[in-house]
Symmetry: C3
Subunit: 287 residues, 3 copies
């Protein structure tokens, strides 16, 4: 299976970070970020530089000539002359796919519209695999905004390729869309709930996500929901010793800072896995 091969290679990238490599010397990556996403951009750029390659690009649309009314296809057909691989982030669904259709160099989707963020899903898998030693057999809770959260859709689909038990934990307003639930539950065991507390003791992976104020018309409702899903050090008293807490970051306050010092907290280490995953991906494409 291709994903497992990528995860295996990613796990080996730590050596390249420590020693430095020149495997992609002379190669250029173009980062076309039509919406800002500092952590994803820096992760890709570090990955490319760690492999000995170079980086060009832009970090936000205003800087791009998009202003002059150029369409994405033309931008891609221009920049592909300057770079060996393009990394694209775009607010619109399907933009990365469109770019790939027009490009003669490989295109990596670094987040496109509300539903696609494949390298995030892969780094999540890598984190789970490395920290738990396996993916099959785990009980994985995905918590928070399952309706609008970009990362959870890619992750849920990726996890459904393994033998896992999924728990979708969200307030009514932010439940995973019906069709996604149907799709996923056809493949793996899946339970939905609005309540996190009763589930805590059975969870192997607790994947928290941001709940955005803007989704709520009623602030009182938001406060109630946000409060109910706020993880604190006290909650960790009830969990398995091996349970890990993940988060795509940035967080607002759904994970209290008291959790940071715990051994369960893996959300910063997750960023490190993101670097390794992207190194492996770039290497498999350009190496």
């Amino acid at each position: 299976m291709e994903i497992d091969e990528l995860l295996r290679r990613a796990a080996e990238m730590g050596v390249c970070v420590d020693r430095g490599t020149d495997l992609l010397r002379g190669k250029v990556m173009g980062t076309l970020f039509f919406e800002p996403s500092t952590r994803t951009r820096l992760s890709f750029e570090s990955a490319m530089i760690r492999l000995g390659g170079g980086v060009i690009g832009f970090a936000e649309p205003k800087v791009a000539s998009v202003e002059k009314g150029e369409n994405l296809a033309d931008t891609v057909r221009t920049v592909e002359n300057y770079a060996d691989v393009l990394v694209i982030r775009h607010p619109l669904e399907g933009a990365a796919r469109l770019a790939a259709d027009f490009a003669s160099v490989p295109v990596i989707n670094a987040g496109s519209g509300a539903e696609e963020h494949p390298t995030q899903a892969m780094l999540d898998l890598l984190t789970i695999h490395q920290e738990q030693g396996r993916i099959d057999g785990l009980t994985i809770a995905v918590v928070g905004d399952l309706r609008y959260g970009r990362t959870v859709h890619s992750l849920a689909y990726a996890l459904s390729l393994y033998k896992v038990k999924l728990l979708f934990v969200a307030p009514e307003l932010l439940r995973m869309r019906r069709e996604v639930v149907d799709d996923i539950s056809a493949r793996v065991a899946l339970e939905e709930s609005a309540d996190l507390a009763p589930l805590l003791s059975e969870i192997d992976v607790l994947y928290m996500t941001r709940i955005q104020k803007e989704r709520f018309a009623d602030m009182a409702e938001y406060e109630k929901v946000a409060g109910a899903y706020r993880l604190t050090a006290r909650d960790l008293e009830k969990v398995k010793e091996s349970m890990i807490v993940m988060h795509p970051l940035p967080r607002v306050d759904e994970i209290d800072h008291s959790v940071d010092r715990s051994e369960h907290a893996k959300y910063f280490k997750q960023m490190r896995y993101g670097l390794l995953l992207r190194m492996a991906l770039l290497l498999s494409i350009l190496g």
Copy 2:
């Protein structure tokens, strides 16, 4: 002749792109873009990185300390301490020249005011030379906004150094300025026209440019003009087999997407020549 030597070297740069080079290892290029121009900036940055060098700089004035009221001369005398060559883009006429007066390192003009964009002119020459095998003897039509278009002035002057026939095709409102026409026609055969269609069959190089809405007080007038100069696949039925279509990009809709798939279309390949030209330029300055 110096330009021909540069073109000859640029044509050889493709090998460096494919194999990677370290010819400028340890050198640093500073890109000072006082107005955004993504494609030109990325082209220069890729060129430098492809040659093994490094890049520092800014992509738009807001980020620069220009805000604090610093003048261009001081910025140049600061950044020249950090870089071996400066690439300057500026909204004002003569800014690149001023920078060069103050700098003790070489300065490359990457577009300065409305009239100067010398590396664009050189990459245009390179494209014509590589795609047609020569420049002398060709009939070259420059079409669109010849009054305000930054690239066409540099290009017209550059072409007038060769034995070409030039066709300036523009609506009345956007005709090339009288003094430029006089200058150029003193050196090469030159015809002006408002009508593209009757000329199509004799053209070797069709150089299209953007017509900007903002130039027109009357939108009906704009629509008429923009429509008359829109190139479509049907127009290509009447042209020489060897005719090439060029455009400095970004385009709005003066070249229909139906033209993109044609063998005549060279405007994306033109970007590739831009990379090679800038590599050759950087190498001749720093190598």
Copy 3:
């Protein structure tokens, strides 16, 4: 003494600039600029590239995910996964220190709040030492906005470690804060004055700073003050032959352009020393 060792190493960095080095090959520096400061950022980035390393980062907060409400500690704990050293610029006092508390990689303070800018102070020391051959025994005037100027506080404290005579020259409104004066005068000879002219002939180092209009409620008062502290070529007729003029830049008009051509003017060369100092610093941290 640690600072003297750093100055000694910085003075040797010129060779690395000329020949190029690979001492930091494979290392990555993250520049986190939560407020724009082009000259400082480019100086650090050039230093890293000159040493063979790579750079990731952002140049202004808007691009950073700070927008999404992330706090500094989380940003640091994310980016430290991508970089071997972080360079932080922040509008708030103590931000660099906070970042260092959370980071597991070294953090360099590139300006934090109104009072701290340690690498500026060190490059100022380096400039004085290299241009005068020593620091001890010199009479050093610091002129302009001593109340709000970020660089002068760090510099005054750094100079107080040497055997110097300090002259603080400022208008009443912009005098150095009482507690700083007390602190400094406990260690070195210190005189305060509102008048520059009478002091000119005894000064070895004239350190000018920007006086910002925004500090004055009364524009007439500003004009009077700004005029009184404007250095021109005529003023140089009265100074020691070896006297040097420094400025952290950018300047507004407190140093007239007639001074630029003088042998006394060292404020652009000061930028060069900034590069060397930052190279030595990065090398001592990562080498």
